[in-house]
Amino acid sequence: MSQILIIEENRVKISMPDAERIRQVSLSLKSVTGVEEKSVAIVVKAWNAEGNSVTDSCKGVYYSTILGEMFAYYPGTPDDAYSEPLTLEFVEAPTEVSFELLTWPGREPVGKAMFGGSALFVESYDVASKGLSTRNRILNGGGHKFR
């Protein structure tokens, strides 16, 4: 079975089975360290089943002319605790969503395996049910096996 949660350094990708579409994702991070005085931005990307970007219509992300990307504000994490969830609603129901942590300014990748301590709450629906059958998953970055 292919993995739904894929973590690569400072990037996490959620890739749903063919028969499902994402409605909403809530992302929580554990303490982000090594950033020091810099700010952090979360670059968000979403693709529909045809591979087209549907990020523009996502509620909770904004376009940054400087970054040239859609981004969400980093919620901030206290020490050794999970952050308040960053919740994004997807109007155009993607099958894949990715989050990338960058420092600002500088656009440098934040930390290593940053999402290893994350929790993602994913609400999706079954296509065959025409949206009526909702599924709720919790994806635990800590349990992710890096492959």
Binding site: E84, F121, R135, I138, K145
Partner: protein, 713 residues
């Protein structure tokens, strides 16, 4: 046979309720058989620990039977499990908290042995609070005191004891196993016995007393739980709305070994070997499997015997006789029948798969049988045409002397044995019998179902012998000679009623019947799910080889729980095997030569097929494991195959070809507990059902726990 040595069998349903009370109940019953030969059976339905109970019962000389359960209590099933091993002529049910006065069972048993038309009931007398099992155990049975201090329970109901002749229990197929927990199962049973012709009698005799040992009430505890409240409501619905009396159809799980078949399917045949195999297969495909098939071969010279024997099914009995005609063959079938009901089935026709089950949805008080409509199909093209049967009474039958399609009848076997087919007729024997049945007051209810697919072919009697049939109908109509008076005509008109016909389910949608046409006309796909373990290994292997795909679900990497798969091009014999194995299946079909691409509708993506199997199993888990204590359910994916859980769920592995996944099905009190378990165990992916998921709240709870208990969370 042990059966001949036992007069009365008393069954007590039991589960984890304390042995002192049970022992007092058992001892009092054993002491009350008097001159009758009695046995007490304790049916333990799912106690967590049972060795002590077994030892105690064996030391008392009581019989003990244990049924493993998923934790759900069902008084109906517990009692049936006890009766399944009983051998008494009189069957008595009671509870573990009742003690019986010394002449009770002797009196109850004698009454029923003397008059088998009875169904006895007994209202219990409640002992006051000081008379607990501990107190009775300390001072012994104080019958005079009990009589003085007890109070007749002021409730309109069965009261705690019920006794019927064994034959009645068998005929109405025991207590209704759909019923959960407790509540209503005994009144339901007694009402059904009454509908089947028994006289109900509440025993009011000073020799028979049943005292209820005091204990803290359990009803309030049960009523507070959602699951038990729902169960009781479900039971009420059965009691209030289900007017039938034969239950546990299609499946009687706790069936006594000596129970005869509910139905005898009677097939009379003569040189129709080419059609007979499919005719028999259509019976074997019935949703109700509680039948035998009696094939009376009326002197065939073809390979009829070989065809029948090729089924290798003990439920099929074959009888050969020298050619004596259809009436004699049908009478022979009635004489050989062991079933309480007989379903008439012709050797060239096919039953719709629901036929036998549907009959029993329409047999209620005062009804001796039921019938339905049928569809003619062209044996070479599959073209179908509906023939709606009229309701049956002497008003509707008198018009033409014609009866509803004979191959749709199910009627008490004894009626056929007594009235018999007229062997002086060569044809139309069914109409003749129908007229005599109606005249005798036999009531047959129209089911509104299509019960039979009638094959139209050149060799039909109605084609080759049509004139004889018409003559026969005319002759039988003359039986009603009294219609020649005006009084008679008026009477028949009044009895006929305003409508001759009833609505026919699927009557306007005959295409749904295509999958049930013969193999030569249709291509089928059967999608099944269930255990095939009861099939012989070689048969199971061959069946699985015919699957386009199948998933094997195993428990703990070990024992097979079930298979799920799809057979493209399933034959009627394949369907019969699936039915025999007791698996659920859905069948779709199209006429051979039609343009629809059936095979394309079968998924061939193994990942999607496995996913569907996982999800169905998860639904099963939620249904079985949910109760008032557990309201959140986790499906954990992408785990190592050796991960096991105990207490809170199941470990299941699913294999489809070379694809394999192990999953956990877990139950939790709430979503917080589930989330914490996920983090603690490093489960990457968990799908949750049940409680609402509120990320902020869950994260907050986790942060609090981490502050309190450290980073292990």
């Amino acid at each position: 046979m042990i059966k001949e040595t036992i007069d009365v069998s008393v069954v007590i349903g039991f589960s984890n309720w304390g042995l002192a009370r049970l022992e007092l109940a058992v001892r009092s019953i054993q002491a009350s058989f008097g001159g009758l030969r009695g046995e007490v059976i304790v049916s333990d339905y799912g106690s967590h620990s049972f060795e002590d109970t077994r030892e105690l019962m064996e030391s008392l000389g009581a019989r003990y039977v244990y049924t493993a359960t998923d934790g759900t209590w069902s008084r109906s099933r517990a009692l049936n499990a006890g009766f399944a091993v009983s051998s008494g002529s009189v069957l008595v049910s009671t509870d573990a908290d009742m003690v019986f006065s010394p002449e009770s069972m002797e009196t109850i048993g004698s009454w029923i042995l003397d008059d088998p038309s009875l169904c006895l009931l007994l209202q219990c007398r409640d002992l006051p609070e000081q008379w607990t099992d501990a107190e009775i155990d300390r001072v012994g049975y104080q019958w005079d005191t009990f009589e003085r201090v007890s109070r007749l329970r002021p409730r309109w109901g069965m009261g705690g004891m019920m006794a019927v002749p064994r034959e009645v229990f068998m005929r109405i197929r025991g207590l209704d196993e759909r019923m959960h927990t407790y509540g209503g199962e005994d009144i339901d049973f007694a009402t059904r016995a009454k509908r089947a012709g028994q006289r109900l009698l509440w025993v009011d005799d000073e020799r028979v007393r049943m005292y209820h040992m005091w204990h803290a009430p359990t009803r309030e505890t049960h009523s507070k739980s959602v699951a038990a409240t729902n169960a009781i409501e479900f039971n009420k619905k059965i009691v209030y709305t289900d007017k039938t009396f034969v239950r546990n159809t299609p499946i009687w799980a706790h069936r006594p070994a000596d129970a005869g078949p509910l139905v005898t399917v009677a097939i009379s045949t003569f040189n129709r070997a080419n059609f007979l195999a499919e005719s028999i297969s259509s019976v074997l495909c019935q949703t109700l499997q509680d039948f035998e098939i009696v094939v009376v071969d009326d002197g065939s010279t073809d390979n009829t015997r070989q065809i029948v024997e090729s089924f290798d099914d003990r439920r099929i009995r074959y009888f050969f006789q020298e050619n004596a005609g259809i009436a004699a063959a049908r009478n022979r079938a009635a004489d050989e029948a062991r079933g309480y009901y007989t379903a008439v089935h012709d050797d060239d026709d096919l039953m719709t798969p629901w036929r036998l089950e549907k009959h029993f949805e329409h047999i209620a008080a005062g009804t001796h049988g039921s019938f339905g409509s049928f569809v003619n199909f062209d044996d070479s093209t599959g073209e179908m045409k509906l023939f709606a049967s009229k309701i049956l009474n002497d008003g509707t039958i008198i018009d033409s002397g014609g009866a509803p399609g004979h191959g749709t009848w199910l009627v008490e076997t004894d009626i056929i044995r007594r009235l018999r087919y007229d062997e002086s007729l060569s044809s139309g024997v069914d109409n003749n019998l129908a007229l005599r049945m109606v005249r005798s007051g036999v009531a047959m209810k129209h089911s509104g179902e299509i019960m039979m697919l009638r094959r139209v072919h050149d060799g039909q009697i109605t084609v080759s012998d049509e004139s004889v049939q018409k003559t026969s109908a005319r002759q039988t109509r003359q039986l009603f000679s009294y219609i020649t008076t005006k009084w008679g005509v008026d009477k028949l008109g009044a009895e006929r009623g305003p409508k001759d016909y009833v609505p026919i389910r699927l009557g306007k949608n005959l295409d749904t019947l295509v999958p049930f046409l013969p193999d030569s006309l249709v291509q089928r796909i059967a999608v099944f799910r269930g255990s095939l373990e009861c099939l012989p290994h070689e048969v199971r292997r061959r069946l699985l080889e015919r699957c386009a795909h199948f998933v094997v679900e195993r428990q703990d990497e070990d024992s097979v729980v079930r298979y799920s798969g799809a057979i493209v091009g399933a034959s009627m014999r394949d369907l019969a095997l699936l039915r025999r194995a007791g698996v659920e299946f859905e069948v779709s079909g199209e006429l051979i030569g039609s343009d629809e691409g059936m095979e394309e509708s079968v998924p061939n993506d193994r990942a999607a097929i496995t996913e569907a199997a996982v999800r169905q199993a998860f639904r099963d888990f939620v249904e079985q494991a949910g109760d008032e204590d557990y309201s959140s359910f986790g499906l954990v994916r992408r785990i190592a195959p050796d991960r096991k859980v105990s207490g809170i769920g199941w470990t299941r592995s699913f294999t489809c070809g070379d694809l394999k996944e192990t999953v956990l099905f877990l139950r939790f009190t709430n979503s917080v507990e589930a989330f914490k378990a996920q983090i603690e165990n490093d489960w990457t992916e968990m799908e949750l059902l049940g409680d609402a998921i509120e990320p902020a709240s869950l994260l907050n709870e986790l942060n609090i726990s981490r502050r309190l208990f450290g980073a292990s969370l």
